[in-house]
């Protein structure tokens, strides 16, 4: 079984404890208190971290050393048999994402698109932006990044399934895979690395691909002149260096990314997993603060990266007067493939 590459000494000597001090859900009196809790976590002792972590992934970004505090919390929880969400919900997710041979593989070339196990991604991977690649797609549990199970502290499921996913992609002869799901890219580049799981193909972050294609299609772009707020997903915390791409893409298509309280490191997740873990009060509070912040910042559109966030927040965003849209759709609007509105 794969083991987490975690440098305990690094955490033991880190007095800044950014991973915990910046946490949006756990509050510590001072660095010393946070450090003590971290030491308990490292030593496998009981700590409030195990009870209070909401699995937002943010500490992966806050740690300046890339030492994977979030994965460590998940490991410790599982070792102690601690459930984050209720047991049947955890079970449901494990069952729902099991590989059952019901996958879909298109006319796959050396460069392919991964739709993960998310049907709503399929319709996005169409049109000129994905010209020549629309049929080179893979979809299904066999190709799904298992990072979602970290929310449920089931690292054993991640470690069991991720090598199989990698193997399934390799078997197709794929050399480069464009990950249309943010979390897939995070899984291949962060989780796999943290566990020493070899990824013998090149994962391509879809926003890198988008930007490249927008440059190719520069002549077709008509600036949209819109104001938008961005909903940063939890998985983006695994790949913080990619966050800049949102602004670059929006700039390219004439969309103003409004400045707001909950952006960058302060971003709020969609809240749905937190609803399972801690109930509606915290989840509703997060969603209300997040969407109100978008409105107050003057956004007309709520731009999504993750389709799960989009499913959860779209209706609520509409009720606030925001127009929900995936960033791919915005790009398609800019080149005239989709109507604005």
């Amino acid at each position: 079984m794969y083991r987490l590459n975690h440098d305990e000494g690094l955490c033991a000597n880190c007095l800044a404890v950014a991973c915990l001090m910046k946490c949006q859900y756990m509050k510590f009196g001072d660095n010393k208190e946070a450090h003590e809790e971290m030491l308990r976590l490292i030593n496998g002792e009981d700590t409030r971290i195990l009870q209070e972590c909401q699995t937002c992934y943010a500490c992966e970004e806050y740690c300046p050393y890339g030492n994977h505090p979030y994965y460590l919390i998940c490991e410790r929880r599982e070792a102690k048999g601690i459930y984050t969400a209720p047991r049947p919900i955890t079970k449901q997710w494990i069952n729902m994402t099991q590989m059952q041979g019901k996958y879909m593989v298109g006319e796959v070339k050396e460069r392919a698109i991964s739709l993960c196990y998310i049907p709503t991604l399929g319709p996005l991977a169409q049109g000129e932006i994905f010209a020549g690649l629309s049929s080179s797609v893979v979809f299904g549990a066999e190709f799904m990044c298992p990072a979602v199970h970290t929310h449920f502290a089931k690292m054993s499921v991640v470690k069991e399934r991720l090598p199989k996913v990698v193997e399934n992609i390799v078997k197709l002869g794929v050399k480069e895979i464009i990950c249309l799901h943010d979390e897939c890219y995070g899984t291949f580049t962060s989780i796999a690395k943290a566990y020493g799981i070899e990824v013998p193909f090149t994962p391509i972050y879809y926003m890198d691909y988008l930007l490249e294609r927008l440059r190719d299609l520069r002549d077709k772009i008509r600036p949209l002149h819109l104001k938008a707020a961005y909903q940063r997903p939890c998985s983006n915390r695994l790949i913080p260096d990619k966050n800049r791409l949102v602004k670059e893409i929006l700039d390219f298509i004439g969309v103003e990314l409004v400045s707001r309280t909950y952006e960058g490191e302060n971003a709020l997740c969609c809240g749905e997993v937190i609803r399972s873990i801690s109930g509606y009060r915290l989840a509703d509070d997060i969603q209300e603060r997040n969407l109100s912040d978008m409105v107050q910042a003057g956004a007309e559109y709520c731009v999504f990266n993750c389709p799960a966030c989009m499913t959860v927040l779209s209706e609520k965003a509409k009720k606030k007067g925001l127009k929900p849209v995936h960033i791919v759709e915005l790009c398609q609007m800019a080149i005239g493939e989709k109507g604005v509105g």
Binding site: P86, P88, I89, K91, Q92, Q98, R275, G279, Y280, E315
Partner: protein, 459 residues
Amino acid sequence: MGEIKERLISIVGADAVSAEPEELWFYARDPGVLEAHFPDFVVAPRTTEEVQKIVQLANEYKIPLVPMGNGMALTGLVIPLRGGIVLDMKRMNRILEVNEKGRYVVVEGGTSQGVLKAYLDDHYPHLRHSLPDAPPTTTIAANVALHGQGRLTQQYGFNSDMVTGLEVVLPTGEICLIGSPSLGPYWFSKGPALPDLSGLFLGWLGTTGIITKVGLRLYPNKRIRDVEIFVTDRPELIPDILFDLTHLEMLEDITVWFQPKPLMFLGNYHITVFFTGDTEEEVTWKKRMIWDTLETYMKTKDGGFMNVDPMKSQLIQMPQRGVAEFADVPRGGGFEYSGPIVPIEHYPKYAAKVLELAEKYDVLYASAARLISGGHAMMFSISFAFNRNDAGMMKRVKEALEEATNFALEMGGIPWKPNFVEQKMILKQMHPETKKLLMAVKKLLDPNGIMNPGNWEEN
């Protein structure tokens, strides 16, 4: 036989009578496991008077008469076990009256659930009836005649409890009004404050008369419907969870279900809670009450709410199409269930029995229970889908259903819409004086034994 056909044609016209084998074929069977029995004639009357004349004719020739709605009871209740005339009521499908302020509707005996729903949606969008999760072509009269349930059963009881009056053609041919319409023009009460004679026709499965008109209660149709699904893997907790939920006294419908496919549902028990409101605030408040009520189970990690956003549009469909989809999972169009009415505290034992039967008989199962009257009882369905072309599978399903009925009777439950075999099992277990009364009433109403013979008979 030719003479009877001519007489039938003289009553309803040639286009409403058939003795053609290709048409009789359809009236000989239903989607359940019982063997087909061909009728001699199918007749489709348009008026109560035509029904009356057909009944008089049947008495004259002592020929069996089987009233039929859409034939979707699944338990062979309108399979003409002894041949005779099938009375297809579907042409009597008019909506006769809606009393808006009194919140009731009067419909003809062949009016379908779908026709009434569409009519109310178009003309009285603030009113609704208790729609069952059956295909929309099923009829209102048949549903109440077999004590059917619907979306409002959790709040207001069996759909038969919602009847506000009946017009019945008795087995001897008299046209009889039941309840308030027997005294005046209003259809607001099936019984009270009179002796409740509706009990002579509801639950008798067409053996005591033919319902030609039904008065039915309507209820407020709130602007917004919403749904939550609470999931647990401990069936022993379900009676307590349901007790807690029904204490809220504000939920529209509650069903409890489990099934092995798709895989995401395996090993868990799901409690679907529907609730309604006229404003977002009302719905949000109710949602929070539901969550607060079950918070204890979330804290112990024994249960939690699943994210219903991706499937919400399907869940709030009325009726739900998913039911029909499950019904044909093995392909081949066979589906039947045993649905006893049971005390809620027995839920864990029934759930265990489903798993035992599925394993023993190697059949694909699903179970969906619906709460009745705020939690006084529940309909617990043990459903099996099968391929009609697979005789072995059909036999196993039949045996599994029989064992399920036996189990329900042993546990003090009441088999719902029992087939003729299950009716005999019920009568065998029934208190002898009760059975005597039941048989005496039946004999009194139908002295020639022409009405749906084979049902509610000991031998």
